[in-house]
């Protein structure tokens, strides 16, 4: 068929324009959302409600995961440190891994699966059942009333959850390292205290979490707000939220890590 090459080019062109279109849509959406953030911040009760649904309801999964990740880190770390006879550094290894990397990243991934997917589905269904249109017709901006509080809640709760994840992880490592393996309790804590820097490690880790919160929050509300008003549309928007958020978190983590820790020791 002589049409084949043409249709191949057509498909490529269509794919590019569709993506550019969506990028433009996202840019306009983000601009509009940031325009109403000020108004939304005044409605504390709406934000608190979303903090409960996104943040508080994610506590159990985040703390339990943190505990297990910390325990695994302790087992693996001990095994390696033993070869160099420096098992007292276990606390440092675990704390740095958690505070710098695993805390922010794993929490963001868990948050995307637990809370953001629910936000996308909720907003998508609100749109599909005309609830957002009804609000708009009642002269209430859905962007300020529904979208912004959910976004703000993600940005607030992610750093806090990441902190709790790291704390739970350190406790998990302490249980394994000190109580089961028998590392000296004092060495575990004092080495950690001496080697973990507030600015370089904790503040940077927190900053990562805030960036992840912005990314995951934006993706979840954007996908929900523009989900096609069908069962299939909402389902695929929810999937896209989890997939895109996860990829965005991992990519941003790489970029941020390079920026933060480049040249730290060299």
């Amino acid at each position: 068929m002589s049409r084949a090459p043409l249709s191949w080019i057509e498909a490529l062109g269509a794919a590019v324009t569709t993506r550019l279109d969506r990028l433009g849509l996202a840019a306009r959406f983000v601009a509009a959302l940031f325009g109403v953030l000020g108004i939304a911040l005044l409605r504390a009760s709406l934000i608190i409600r979303e903090l409960y649904f996104s943040g508080v309801r994610s506590l159990s999964i985040v703390i339990v995961s943190g505990l297990f990740v910390g325990m695994v880190l302790a087992v693996q770390g001990y095994e390696v440190l033993q070869r160099y006879g420096s098992t007292e550094s276990l606390g440092v290894i675990v704390a740095l891994s958690l505070v710098r990397e695993l805390g922010p990243v794993v929490t963001a991934l868990l948050f995307a699966g637990r809370a953001s997917s629910a936000v996308t589905a909720e907003i998508g269904l609100m749109r599909a059942t005309d609830q957002l249109a009804a609000m708009d017709m009642m002269a209430v901006d859905p962007l300020a009333r529904v979208i912004a509080p959910r976004f703000i809640a993600a940005v607030i709760s992610l750093p806090l959850l990441a902190g709790l994840f790291s704390a739970a992880g350190i406790i998990g490592a302490w249980i394994i390292g000190v109580h089961l393996i028998g590392i000296d309790d004092g060495a575990f804590w004092s080495q950690m205290q001496a080697s973990v820097d507030v600015r370089i490690d904790i503040v940077n880790g927190m900053f990562k979490s805030v960036v992840f919160g912005v990314a995951v929050g934006l993706i979840s509300v954007f996908e929900g707000f523009f989900a096609p008003p069908t069962a299939e549309g909402v389902a695929s928007a929810t999937t896209r939220t989890v997939v895109t958020s996860s990829l965005a978190v991992l990519l941003l983590d790489f970029v941020l890590t390079v920026m933060m820790f480049r040249g730290l020791n060299g």
Binding site: L125, M126, T129, D130, A133, A134, M137, M138, A139, V140
Partner: protein, 267 residues
């Protein structure tokens, strides 16, 4: 507000979804206090018309005058100002599913007024009493039947006593008793609150009982503009097809397709 007799006036409005034209050169006026039914085939632009009046859609050309303001040119804040005077009942009610009935009806008061909570409570109960559902105030939308949900949505839509009520297929999917109840409520609210009502509907019987005027849309423009008695007496094939529910006629039964025999032989 200037008290002109025409509360809604649409002049030469064009609207299309992508390549597909929906409204082509639509002209119509709706007078203050009227109940006007908009009828026509599916995809004939009826719901689009409500979108234009409410400012949710913009025509590609033409004017949509509501209370002497050209809706498509309004700023967002001016549009929101106008929408406080427009109520809309969505096809399936569009109640907020995370709020109980009471809070759904209280929503417009809480968002748009500075009334104290006890005044809001009294107003909400009055609106719910008007639709016969004061006793259901504590229920969640998921616990309501279709007809009840529609009545709660109606109470919410008229909460701020709008000048104009837009109804998008208010009878669809309801049992005959609920259809009658909604129909009577529309009429009563229109008279009691001095509103103007625009009803998009397929339900001809209820429409003829209710409406002062019936506007039939076809191919994106006004096909005819008649009072109910004229519809009943009409011999126009298009109107008869609607009135009598005939499957085929000016509105074809078949979606446009290639020749049937040819299509079969080819396979």
């Amino acid at each position: 507000m200037v008290d002109t007799p025409d509360i809604i006036r649409i002049e030469a409005a064009h609207f299309s979804y992508g390549e597909r034209p929906i409204l082509t050169d639509l002209n119509l006026t709706i007078r203050r206090g009227e109940i006007v039914a908009i009828m026509g085939g599916s995809g004939g632009g009826k719901t689009t018309l409500l979108g234009l009046i409410g400012g949710r859609l913009k025509p590609s050309s033409g004017r949509v005058m509501v209370e002497d303001q050209n809706v498509p040119t309004l700023s967002k804040s001016a549009l929101y100002q106008l929408r406080r005077r427009i109520g809309m009942l969505f096809q399936f009610g569009a109640l907020f599913t995370d709020l109980p009935v009471f809070d759904n009806v209280a929503f417009p008061y809480r968002e748009q007024t500075d009334l104290p909570e006890d005044a809001i409570r009294a107003l909400v109960l009055m609106k719910l009493e008007a639709v016969g559902l004061r006793g259901a105030a504590h229920l969640m939308p998921s616990e309501l039947s279709g007809g009840m949900a529609r009545r709660v949505a109606l109470a919410r839509a008229v909460a701020l006593d709008p000048a104009i009520m837009l109804y998008d297929e208010p009878f669809t999917g309801l049992d005959p008793i609920s259809v009658g109840i909604i129909g009577r409520l529309i009429k009563r609210l229109n008279t009691a609150l001095g509103m103007t009502s625009v009803i998009v509907t397929h339900d001809l019987n209820e429409t003829l009982r209710l409406a002062d005027r019936v506007i039939v849309l076809s191919a994106g423009r006004v096909y005819c503009d008649l009072v109910p008695d004229q519809i009943r007496a009409s011999s126009d094939p298009f109107i008869r097809q609607f009135a009598d529910g005939l499957p085929d006629g000016p509105v074809p039964f078949h979606y446009p397709a290639s020749d049937y025999v040819q299509d079969l032989v080819q396979s």
